[in-house]
Symmetry: C2
Subunit: 303 residues, 2 copies
């Protein structure tokens, strides 16, 4: 069986890029994988682990005749990477990214790539682990996970399909959204919970009685604040890049807390219970659907 | 070896009361365990599972010569239980509870028990599972967990020590606090996260695009909202019973979100990153201590 892709280039062969590489390799879908990165040690590690076949710091050579380039670097660095790559892109090379915000990345891509922006298909794999770096990469990170592509008007359908096909080979399920819609959705379901979690821990540790409080923090606190163990740099970048959508979510949430505060101040037990019940039912129904989907995907894989 | 306790009475033999019973039984610390409850089916199940030796609906008989009574019912029902028990308490019987708020329970106990309130030692085991009822009871629920006792001035030291000794036999670690201090601490580390989690899900599901949002909710959302699968009735009761301390926490948190909103609106990346970093460091240090404590307790047990 001949591989679908002759050469792919991974810019940033850490958890996301490295797992993409491993999955394509497992699918026998690629002949050569070249890694590019700022950290020589990290690239060397990716090479040792077999995530990539070659590590390169020479962009022109690395990009030559590449079928697909995956840019998996912190979102704030995407523009610089695309700008450096632009002069060396072959006409048939397709570029995609893995950033968790999209409208900002699209704007950066237009600035960096100019009339070659049609070669860039913005993407966001909804997958992660609590660990990062090349050592965290695993071949089945994307199995059964969603990858959201947010194509732009400049993309040919065939170009979008090439990116989608590569992700499908990793076991992922492809979804399409507009960049702005993507950012609004993820501001609500991902960015807001992260920021609320950081704010909760921060509120607590800035107090004189912080040690006493943390001594009694238990399992609920652990789950609620897990997101506060995420990378501060990454979340600064996401906050800035998705500022408008996050402000909308933050305001809606503060308003929601204000309504609850009013019910509590008025000792309106019925209203509070109704609110809790609605949340509980919705969360349990969501969990059931999510678990059913996961079980279905497991069955499909085993079949 | 003769058991330390001749007879204990468990009012509400579900997860909390049933696990207490199983742990004392495993420690050969009790001769007879009598269960009392509103639900005949639940009592019957507790009997089948061996959590209790006898199920009773006749309070005078059940309480006769009891060494220790554990009231493990929803906090809003504690007063009614104590009121019903009061005329039948032997002079040497000690009563404790497992409610997650304490100042309100102390006030209820004073009203219900009158001059016998010295026989009541308020307590709160910091342990739980996502499941409830007699079938969820396990003998090691309290191993290595904290039990906070909040004695009142009317308690003799010896009475407090009897309750502490029983909990120690379950493997728990005893802490003492004043009721109001307990409620302030748990408003911060437990009640607030629960309410924020309910509010987050509620905010999301009340929107027209709720289905779309939930479709993209992933692991972070799952952890952040786990608390929103808790019992609405229980959290209504806790909210009402700990209203003042929760309002203080809610206001502090809304103010904290307001500060973050200001940083985000001003695109102050440095301030946001500093906030995220402080939270991340504090959370990671807390987690390390918590895991080290858990490992130490495991070692102590194995020794």
């Amino acid at each position: 069986m001949s591989a679908a892709l002759k050469k792919i280039v991974i810019v940033g062969a850490g958890l996301i890029g490295g797992s993409f590489a491993l999955a394509l390799r497992r699918a026998h879908a690629v002949e050569q994988i070249v890694g590019i990165g700022r950290s020589a040690a990290s690239l060397q590690r990716a090479l040792q682990l077999g995530l990539i076949d070659a590590a390169s710091t020479a962009l022109p050579e690395a990009l030559q005749d590449a079928d697909l380039v995956l840019v998996s670097v912190p979102v704030a660095q995407t523009e610089a990477v695309l700008r450096a790559a632009q002069p060396h892109l072959s006409a048939h090379t397709v570029v995609t990214d893995a950033g968790s915000i999209k409208a900002d990345v699209v704007a950066a891509a237009r600035r960096a790539l100019g009339d070659r922006v049609g070669q860039f298909v913005p993407g966001h794999p909804i997958a992660g682990r609590e660990v990062s770096g090349p050592d965290a990469a695993i071949a089945d990170l994307y199995v059964g996970r969603k990858v959201v592509l947010t194509p732009i008007p400049e993309n040919d359908i065939a170009v979008v399909e090439r990116v989608a096909a590569a992700w499908r080979l990793t076991g992922a399920e492809i979804h399409h959204m507009k960049p702005e819609q993507h950012d609004a959705v993820f501001a609500a379901v991902s960015h807001l919970p992260h920021l609320l979690s950081f704010a909760m821990v921060n509120e607590m540790v800035c107090r004189p009685e912080a040690d006493l409080l943390l001594q009694y923090a238990a399992g609920g606190f652990r789950d609620f604040t897990r997101l506060a163990s995420s990378s501060p740099e990454m979340w600064r970048d996401i906050s800035l890049a998705n500022q408008q959508a996050i402000l909308v979510e933050l305001d809606a949430y503060i308003a929601q807390l204000g309504r609850f505060r009013g019910q509590l101040a008025a000792r309106d037990g019925d209203a509070m219970q109704a609110m809790f019940s609605q949340a509980q039912r919705a969360r349990d129904a969501w969990l059931q659907r999510a678990d059913a989907n996961a079980a279905q995907q497991k069955t499909d894989e085993d079949a």
